[in-house]
């Protein structure tokens, strides 16, 4: 069969191209522009080449923030994925409990990020917060403002509260798509609860689960609003993630060149990581056919 060539079709794509150019490509190019120049203000720029990139890659501050990001994402995934699966497995499959559970699960996802930060900031306060005050009454010396461990625990709790629902909902969608016959066959084969999970539920969930992991990884790696509202990156720099550091650099210190270089490095890291996840995901699927 001959393919009909019709170059007018390109005009159909043009509006999207223009939109993407203005919303993504041109701003990104501006950042590239800043990253290779230096300025002392007054719109005077000097060519700096790769200096900013070298500086960023050699700075302890960048690698410390990067390390915190990786540790944070690892902890988040290690808690939210198993917890999400566990909750999804225990949610009702039919009856009035289904809509109730789904709405309860979806609620945290509907709250704006900065509101989540504010909720937990108040929640954790020793004087008026339910959590902070209760812990203080119980004799726990809890203070997320000046104790790094407490700050981390609070941020992790907040993220688990905010985002486990996403994993739950995706897993639940995977679970309800399993036909009853599978469970009946498993009963007939005398399979244990664990075997049902391992050989029926997990294989049927693996696709949605990988999407959940990918989304949670990207989101947690880019986390900004909630810790910014809760701790502002402190105490000290202990909760300063890459995104918070970037904002400090760009707006706090007005170090545009360095911030631009950091943005590009940050962007490339997320791009590469997502690509790796995506490749692993697709290969995982095809390998088994």
């Amino acid at each position: 069969m001959n393919k009909t060539l019709n170059n007018k079709a390109w005009f159909m794509v043009l509006p999207v191209l223009v939109l993407v150019a203005f919303s993504a490509v041109i701003p990104l190019m501006t950042v590239v522009n800043y990253s290779v120049q230096d300025t002392f203000g007054s719109n005077v720029f000097f060519w700096a080449g790769t200096e900013w990139f070298q500086e960023i890659l050699a700075s302890d501050r960048f690698w410390a923030a990067m390390g915190r990001n990786l540790v944070f994402s690892a902890i988040i995934l290690a808690i939210e994925v198993p917890l999400g699966i566990f909750i999804a497995l225990n949610m009702p499959r039919k009856g009035w409990g289904v809509p109730v559970c789904l709405v309860l699960m979806a609620l945290p996802l509907l709250i704006p990020f900065n509101v989540v930060g504010t909720i937990w900031q108040v929640f954790g306060r020793i004087d008026i917060g339910l959590l902070g005050h209760t812990l203080a009454e119980l004799g726990v010396n809890y203070n997320y403002v000046n104790n790094p461990v407490h700050a981390w625990v609070t941020i992790i709790l907040m993220d688990v509260w905010h985002w486990t629902s996403l994993v739950v909902l995706l897993c639940y969608a995977g679970l309800v798509s399993i036909p009853d016959a599978y469970y009946q066959a498993a009963k007939i084969d005398g399979a244990s609860r664990w075997a049902v999970f391992r050989y029926i539920q997990l294989p049927k969930m693996h696709r949605v689960l990988l999407i959940a992991i990918l989304l949670r990884f990207m989101d947690s790696f880019m986390i900004y609003t909630e810790p910014f509202v809760l701790t502002g990156g402190g105490p000290g720099n202990t909760t300063t993630f890459l995104s918070i550091d970037l904002v400090k650099l760009a707006i706090g210190e007005f170090n545009l060149g360095e911030a631009a270089a950091m943005s590009i490095i940050y962007f490339l890291i997320i791009l590469v990581m997502s690509w790796v996840f995506y490749t692993v995901m697709t290969n995982y699927g095809t390998e088994r056919r």
């Binding site: 036909p179 399979a191 050989y199 294989p203």
Partner: protein, 358 residues
């Protein structure tokens, strides 16, 4: 292998069934003989899958008992009943190899690995999947997957019965024959008690020695394919079995004489007092002879189905069908004669036994 007794089973899906119409299964009292091949035949929603799930223990009947070889298993869960079931859509464990799929029910029951290996090799040979043994079950064709489902059931040597729930629905037509032949072969060689649910009469009639016809939650007839064809005990059986189904004509009866409109016929025997029951005369299209003598009909349509022709016609205002050989001429003034030996009389849809008939 076991004999399966269904002792006055009733089942309703709702909590407090009020009348008969609330029951998905109205009253089933039947014995599946050890080593028999049975087909449960009926239209969708007639309760055949419900009955199958009650036997396998996936459902607990609202009333009645199930006995396997005189042992009451009504309260036993599926895994304790030791039965095998093959479902409509093939169920395989995707991430396991074909070999592991077949070994799964044995390993779950703690059978030593040496015994498992020996048994699985036997089964793989039996279902003809030797070359696929080490492949992942995912990506096999539907009929191969269905063979695995069957094989998992056969793996346990002491299985009480094998239940099939419309197992050939998703199989390609040319594979259906092959699989059905294999099933019959397995039945002959190993003598499993098999219960086969289907809504396809060809499948039921070719697979089973005994066909159980179900209609609206009741068993309407149990018999060999021949009995179902020649002496349907309910008008539904007459209509459901055969293609086209049995002709049913409203009639009135007096002794051995039956009248359809202005025509009268002689029955092979006398009917008892039927009172005000709704009377119908049934005759298979195969036993309607077309010729120049008998009752006049007007032909509406002739369908050529290859070696046979189906003649659709009107007799005394009622539509009837006749099956004739392809080379039989349709006369200009057509008449029909009903073969008296194959007349069946129905009162309120149930067959009436005729006194003095052979």
């Amino acid at each position: 292998m076991a004999r399966i007794d269904l002792d006055n089973i009733r089942h309703a899906y709702m909590a407090n069934p009020a009348g008969d119409e609330d029951y998905a299964l109205k009253k089933v009292h039947h014995t599946f003989v050890d080593g028999g091949a049975y087909a449960l035949l009926g239209p969708s929603g007639c309760g055949k899958t419900t009955l199958l799930n009650i036997i396998s223990g996936l459902l607990r009947p609202s009333e009645g008992q199930i006995l396997f070889d005189t042992r009451d298993v009504t309260g036993l869960p599926t895994e304790a009943r030791n039965i095998a079931q093959v479902f409509q859509f093939p169920v395989v464990y995707d991430t396991m190899t074909v070999y592991d799929n077949l070994a799964f029910p044995l390993r779950n029951r703690g059978v030593p690995e040496g015994v498992v290996d020996k048994r699985v090799r036997e089964i793989i040979a039996m279902i003809g999947l030797e070359e696929r043994a080490r492949r992942k079950a995912q990506g096999l064709t539907a009929d191969e997957k269905q063979k695995i489902s069957l094989g998992r059931g056969l793996a346990r040597a002491d299985v009480n019965a094998i239940l099939f729930d419309e197992p050939l629905t998703v199989i390609d037509p040319h594979m259906k024959w092959e699989l059905r032949t294999q099933l019959k072969e397995l039945h002959r060689r190993f003598g499993y008690t098999m219960v086969y649910v289907t809504h396809d009469q060809t499948e039921a009639l070719t697979f089973a020695d005994n066909v159980v016809v179900m209609y609206e939650g009741e068993i309407v007839q149990i018999g060999t394919p021949e009995e179902l064809f020649e002496r349907p005990s309910h008008t539904f059986v007459g209509y459901f079995i055969g293609s086209p189904g049995m002709n049913l004509l409203p009639a009135s009866v007096d002794g051995a004489t039956v009248r359809i409109g202005s025509q009268s016929l002689t029955l092979p025997g006398r009917a008892g007092a039927l009172g005000s029951d709704r009377i119908e005369l049934g005759i298979r299209p195969e036993f309607v002879q077309l010729g120049r003598e008998g009752m006049p009909i007007s032909i509406t349509k002739v369908e050529d189905i290859g070696r046979k022709k189906i003649v659709r016609a009107e007799l005394e205002g009622e539509t009837i069908a006749a099956v004739i050989d392809e080379d039989t001429e349709v006369p200009a003034e057509p008449h029909v004669v009903f073969d008296p030996a194959h007349l069946n009389l129905y009162a309120n849809s149930w067959r009436v036994d005729l006194e003095g008939a052979a």
